[in-house]
């Protein structure tokens, strides 16, 4: 590389070409400019005339200068100029490349790898042996100094590890193979201090110069400083800018998604490292699903905190007194109230007592149950730290042995107490305000919460201290006592509304959440430390923070695991039996100092100038074009100049210009020109400032204005006048096809039936309000992305609420003869609430709701059509109307018409094909009739029989 001031040239020989510029000057001057072109009828009279004194016209100097400048810029560009290139490494006898390869090395790894490869290539080219030290804490004896390609191969194969980096001990031993003489060091640092670094720095400085390359991007680290229901993370970085932390986990459908985005709060800096606390303020049910936290945009093992048992929701076992047998009891049972109250904050399991203890829940809830065994498994479970919550009830009150009942916080008097009954004098009692230091401190008590009956406690000295909630007369409502490591809590009332109105108030939910939230931690291992057993990695993090299956997991002892991630013990998920533990690589950061070494500037070395020079050459050439055109003069050439300029500037801008979008129709049918044939479909536009608003009452007027602005006018039309919808698939061609198909079917319906649909509505599943729709056509395309979980929730609600989706795989059942044979269909329709399916039976309403149909062809004739199976059990949704119809006959193509009302696609051949198209339309009519009338038509089937019977009864 040749240096000219701050500019270096990669191939300076090309600069010799600058010598031809004077030649070019002479050549260009000799060439005359292009003459002006003139259209002139008198040319014929000029024939044969010779210029009397020819004037030698020459190219003007500024045009020459432009051309010379363009050529010079091109020559300079091809010589590969670089502004302030990276200084060439000085030749030394041997080179040691030290790469930080710990968990924090991920972000800058690629750049460091490239830099190391370049340095190794240069050194090998100079004949110097090269050694590679990966500072991932594993030492493999003395480093080999090699002078062949093995170094490059090792560099390419190297990757950062998912544990904190460290340098091996005893630098002298490891550098034993270093050749005599100078030893240069290239230290590709991640900017952080790791164990053993100062020893290595001094050892290497003693042998020769040390060049330190700081990382191209700052190091980030994330670790959990507090777990529990309100965990807190700490984000650390060498950069002053904080980054958001993503909470990732499966959504309710089981699809991994970003569940929340956490913003760090105020940070503080110390010693070049900034720390931000990141409070994880998530609802319990969301927190329970988080599998990992990750710094947004940082690919590094230290930027990931894996979640484990510590994050999950507490498990609550509900133990009832038997199965509810009737529907009425199911909704009034204590279990139902508890389930509803707990499902937000805990994972509820319902089982028998023995099964529940075996499942190791955090909380066991007993409802109105007495006669427990004083030395049973439940007692042991409570003593080991379990939380037992008991609810009183009529059965307990009637138990004669209540006074000796174990596992109660207070001794109870048999019988109980009724207040406010028909034969009692007292009023139902409200709840007294909670004690400020109790578990329910601060909860607001609704005034309408009253207790009508309760179990009374035997007076005792410790009764007040054990009462955590009392009634207004001082009698206990909730009592609590420690039992071993665990606790026993008793609600002196029922968990349903029989004895009190507490369970139907929000206070009940809050009280249970307080109790359960405090309890779940009691059973977890203290500070998440593994206790005994051998743990096996199931998934481990790569150095770039991606979770991969553990390749060959070796069980490790719990004590080893307790020390955190270490060499050959990568961060990841470790399991021992049922217990799962996460090992994280994030550790506090410490900035490294480089006394005595040369630190390269962090900026990427050297700015290549070739591209800019070529652009300059192109620009000069464009100016030259404009100048030449202007020389020719005249009005016409002016226009030519302008067009040349436009074309040239487009050529220059082409690589950076965003890809032009191919316009293909419009998604919104309202934007389409309404074909003449569809003129009756035109919808009169509502005047938003019409008389309606003027008549609206003054209070509601403003409120009514707001939602109107948000409703999609198409959807509003679909709600007021029937319109079919089609699902936008993301494929413009397919969407246009759906639109044309439904337009054709709409026209058929309009002309043949009293159903008068308006133009079809395009439905974006992510945004559209499906409650307004009746019928959706969903063509299954190969590229359609899976809709979001919210969209599936809306779709399921749509299906339950009487809507219908016609799934069209459009493959003529090539994928197989089962309803879900198509992969795409399975992928897209999987998360829907699908009823059991069956092929359309011969006597299905669909075959006779308007026309009598034998088959249901579309563009293809032979595919099977599937509907929900007619089930015998009561309580089917939608009056037995199938919420889905699935087939592959590509109906939309058979229905599709163009703007003139002519069919878009050929169906079959000849008259048979037209017959098939007619049948397809009839199927469509039947389908819409089926959607709109439900089973009304199936009732009609029996009308003749009913009439016949009436006649017979009338005769005698």
């Amino acid at each position: 590389m040749m240096m000219l001031g701050p500019i270096g040239f990669a191939t300076p020989l090309i600069l010799l070409a600058l010598a031809v510029l004077p030649l070019l000057w002479w050549l260009l001057r000799a060439l005359p400019p292009v003459p002006k072109r003139v259209r002139f009828p008198g040319t014929v009279l000029l024939k044969g005339l010779v210029d009397a004194n020819p004037v030698a016209r020459r190219t003007p100097w500024w045009l020459l200068l432009l051309r010379i400048a363009a050529v010079a810029a091109a020559i300079l560009a091809f010589a590969g100029p670089v502004w302030r290139p990276a200084p060439a490494p000085e030749p030394g006898d041997a080179l040691v490349i030290v790469m930080d390869a710990g968990a924090t090395a991920g972000p800058g790894w690629r750049a460091a790898q490239t830099r190391a490869l370049r340095a190794a290539d240069t050194a090998l080219g100079d004949g110097a042996p090269v050694a590679l030290l990966l500072a991932d804490g594993r030492s493999e004896g003395a480093l080999p100094f090699l002078a062949d390609d093995a170094i490059a191969a090792a560099l390419r194969a190297a990757s950062p590890q998912a544990w904190p980096g460290a340098y091996p001990d005893a630098p002298d031993t490891i550098l034993a193979n270093a050749p005599e003489g100078g030893l240069r060091t290239l230290w590709l640092s991640d900017g952080l201090d790791h164990p053993g670094r100062s020893a290595w720095l001094s050892a290497l400085l003693a042998r020769g110069p040390v060049d330190v390359v700081p990382p191209v991007s700052p190091a980030y680290s994330l670790r959990m400083v507090r777990d529990g229901t309100q965990p807190e993370l700490e984000l650390q970085s060498t950069a002053p800018e904080a980054r958001a932390v993503l909470a990732l986990g499966p959504d309710p459908q089981g699809i991994p998604r970003e569940l929340a985005r956490l913003e760090p709060s105020e940070g503080r800096s110390a010693f070049g490292v900034t720390s931000w606390p990141v409070p994880v303020d998530l609802p319990p049910e969301l927190l329970g699903r988080v599998t990992r936290f990750q710094i947004d945009g940082i690919e590094s093992a230290s930027a990931v905190v894996l979640g484990d048992d510590r994050l999950r929701r507490p498990v609550v076992a509900l133990i009832g007194q038997g199965q509810a047998t009737s529907e009425r009891q199911a909704l009034l049972s204590p279990a139902h109230f508890l389930r509803s109250a707990l499902e937000r904050s805990a994972r509820v399991i319902e089982a028998g007592l023995n099964d529940a203890i075996a499942a190791k829940p955090d909380v066991i809830v007993l409802m109105d149950r007495s006669g427990l065994d004083a030395d049973g498994a439940l007692t042991d479970w409570v003593a080991e730290g379990g939380l037992l919550i008991r609810f009183a009830g009529p059965r307990m009150a009637a138990d004669p042995g209540l006074a000796e009942e174990p596992l109660l916080p207070v001794r109870l008097r048999p019988g109980g107490r009724d207040m406010g009954g028909v034969l009692s004098w007292g009023e139902p009692r409200p709840v007294a305000p909670f004690a400020a230091d109790g578990p329910f401190a601060g909860l607001a008590i609704p005034p309408d919460v009253t207790i009508r009956a309760q179990l009374m406690a035997e007076p005792s000295p410790d009764l007040p201290s054990r009462s955590i909630a009392v009634l207004s007369d001082g009698t206990p409502l909730v009592t609590r006592a420690d039992s071993g490591d665990g606790q026993v809590v008793l609600f002196h009332s029922t968990a349903n509304a029989d004895w009190s109105s507490l369970p139907i108030s929000g206070l009940f939910v809050q009280m249970l959440e307080r109790l359960v939230a405090g309890a779940g931690r009691a059973t977890a291992e203290p500070q998440g430390q593994p206790q005994g057993g051998s743990w096996t990695a199931t998934d481990v993090l790569s150095g770039f923070g991606r979770l991969i299956e553990a390749p060959d997991a070796v069980p490790v002892a719990a004590e080893v695991l307790a020390d955190g991630a270490a060499p050959d013990l990568p961060a990841g998920i470790y399991a021992s039996g049922e217990r799962v533990m996460a090992l994280n690589a994030g550790a506090p950061l410490a900035l490294a100092g480089w006394a005595g070494a040369t630190v390269e500037s962090a900026r990427p070395s050297g700015i290549p100038l070739a591209g800019w020079l070529l652009i300059a050459a192109a620009a000069v050439l464009i100016a030259d074009l404009a100048g030449s055109a202007a020389l020719r003069g005249g009005r016409r050439s002016g226009r030519v100049t302008a067009s040349l300029l436009v074309v040239a500037s487009m050529l220059v801008l082409l690589p950076t210009a965003p890809r032009a979008q191919v316009p293909f129709g419009d998604n919104g049918p309202a934007d389409q020109p309404v074909p003449e044939l569809l003129a009756p479909f035109e919808v009169p536009q509502d005047d938003p400032t019409g008389a309606d608003d003027a008549q609206a009452d003054p209070d509601g007027g403003a409120a009514a204005e707001e939602p109107r602005a948000e409703v999609d006018p198409d959807l509003a039309r679909a709600a007021s006048e029937f319109a079919m919808g089609y699902v936008l698939t993301g494929n413009a061609e397919l969407d246009e096809l759906s639109r044309a198909g439904l337009t054709g079917l709409s026209l058929t319906l309009y002309s043949r039936t009293t159903v008068e649909p308006t133009p079809p509505v395009a439905i974006d599943l992510e945004t559209a309000d499906l409650t307004l729709m009746t019928f959706l056509y969903w063509p299954i395309g190969p590229d359609q992305p899976i809709p979001s979980a919210d969209a599936y929730l809306r779709l399921n609600r749509f299906l339950r609420g009487g809507g219908m989706i016609l799934f069209d795989t459009r493959d003529a059942d090539l994928a197989g003869s089962a309803a879900d044979a198509s992969d795409d269909l399975r992928r897209l329709a999987g998360p829907l609430d699908m009823p059991p399916l069956q092929e359309v039976p011969q006597d299905h309403v669909l075959t006779r709701s308007f026309y009598l149909l034998e088959e249901m062809p579309g563009r293809f004739a032979d595919g099977d059509v599937w509907v929900a199976a007619t089930s015998t059990e009561a309580g089917t949704v939608n009056d037995g109307v199938s919420p889905v119809v699935i087939g592959g006959n590509s109906w939309a193509e058979a229905w599709a018409i163009d703007d003139r009302g002519l069919p878009l696609f050929a169906v079959g051949a000849g008259m048979d094909g037209e017959r098939q198209r007619e049948m397809a339309h009839r199927f469509g009519v039947n389908l819409i009739m089926y959607v709109l009338t439900g089973n009304y038509k199936s009732d009609q089937i029996h009308v003749p029989a009913l009439l016949e019977r009436l006649r017979q009864e009338g005769q005698p």
């Binding site: 002006k36 072109r37 003139v38 002139f40 009828p41 040319t43 014929v44 024939k47 009397a52 009005r635």
Partner: protein, 293 residues
């Protein structure tokens, strides 16, 4: 030529305006053809006409109404009053359609030679029709009256320049007893023009040639390196257009002389018209030469 002028009505209106300034044009040149069409030229024989020609004795076949009773009362003979037979003269107009006729100057915005030629020819035709003469475009059936005026308006306005330079009247269209009016720039030396002129003089017809030139073609205002082109593909490169001006003018004069000679040989009259001058000038010249006895 602006689109408005190109329109049929616009052309007709301008032509009427130009023609209104001159009296009706009675053709004085050329022979009078023996046609049945009534007109203003006496044939010196009895027939349909306005002027008295002779009294002749009535013979069988003359109706009683045909007898001039005033003259017959003076004797025993019965006389019929004959009138002189009068017919119209026929003028045939030809417009050159060479590509050069569409020239409207370097800016391309002025009036084209073709536009001026159309205006002149239609004005001339209207003047002739007003005098009862029969007018036509060369090679088409002649006629007179308001219907012919409408037909000619349409025909003339539809004339469009060709995409090549040469255009000349067809020899086959030459008829006897016609007055031909040829309007063109006559820049190209076309042998077909000479043939036409000779044929016309052979059949006893005569006519007028009017050369329309653009001021650019008269003055040659070009300078510097220029490549001259015509639509027909003729080309001339020069480095110093200004130096050619004198030579070009000499060539133009030469061409005019040759045209005038050819015209007088065939009994035609030759005139020139510059687009820079008003159209009435050319129209007056045409009126003069065609009505002069």
């Amino acid at each position: 030529m602006t689109p408005e002028d190109a329109s049929l009505a616009g052309l007709r209106a301008r032509a009427e305006a130009a023609a209104a300034a001159l009296p009706p044009l009675v053709l004085a040149r050329g022979p009078v053809a023996a046609t049945f069409a009534p007109g203003g030229h006496g044939l010196r024989r009895p027939g349909i006409g306005e002027d008295f020609w002779q009294y002749r004795q009535a013979h069988e076949g003359d109706t009683a109404a045909a007898i001039d009773w005033r003259r017959s009362a003076r004797g025993d003979m019965r006389f019929v009053r004959d009138r002189e037979r009068q017919t119209a003269r026929t003028a045939a107009i030809w417009l050159g359609r060479g590509a050069g006729m569409a020239y409207a100057g370097q800016a391309g915005t002025g009036e084209t030679k073709m536009g001026r030629a159309k205006l002149l020819s239609l004005s001339l035709a209207l003047l002739l029709i007003r005098a009862g003469e029969r007018v036509t475009l060369l090679g088409e059936p002649a006629g007179t009256g308001a219907a012919q005026a409408t037909k000619l308006t349409a025909g003339i306005s539809m004339i469009a320049p060709l995409d090549h330079d040469d255009d000349a009247p067809l020899r086959a269209a030459a008829r006897g007893a016609q007055v031909a009016v040829l309007i063109d720039d006559f820049l190209n030396d076309d042998p077909r023009l000479d043939e036409f002129l000779q044929t016309m003089s052979g059949v006893g017809s005569t006519g007028v040639m009017l050369q329309i030139l653009h001021p650019d073609e008269e003055d040659f205002p070009f300078e510097g390196a220029v490549r001259f082109q015509t639509l027909g593909g003729q080309r001339h490169d020069t480095r110093d257009a200004g130096g050619l001006r004198a030579a070009y003018r000499a060539r133009l004069d030469e061409r005019r002389d040759a045209l005038a000679a050819a015209a007088s040989n065939a009994g035609f009259l030759f005139g020139t018209h510059d687009l820079g001058q008003p159209a009435s000038e050319a129209l007056a010249w045409l009126h003069g030469v065609l009505s002069a006895r």
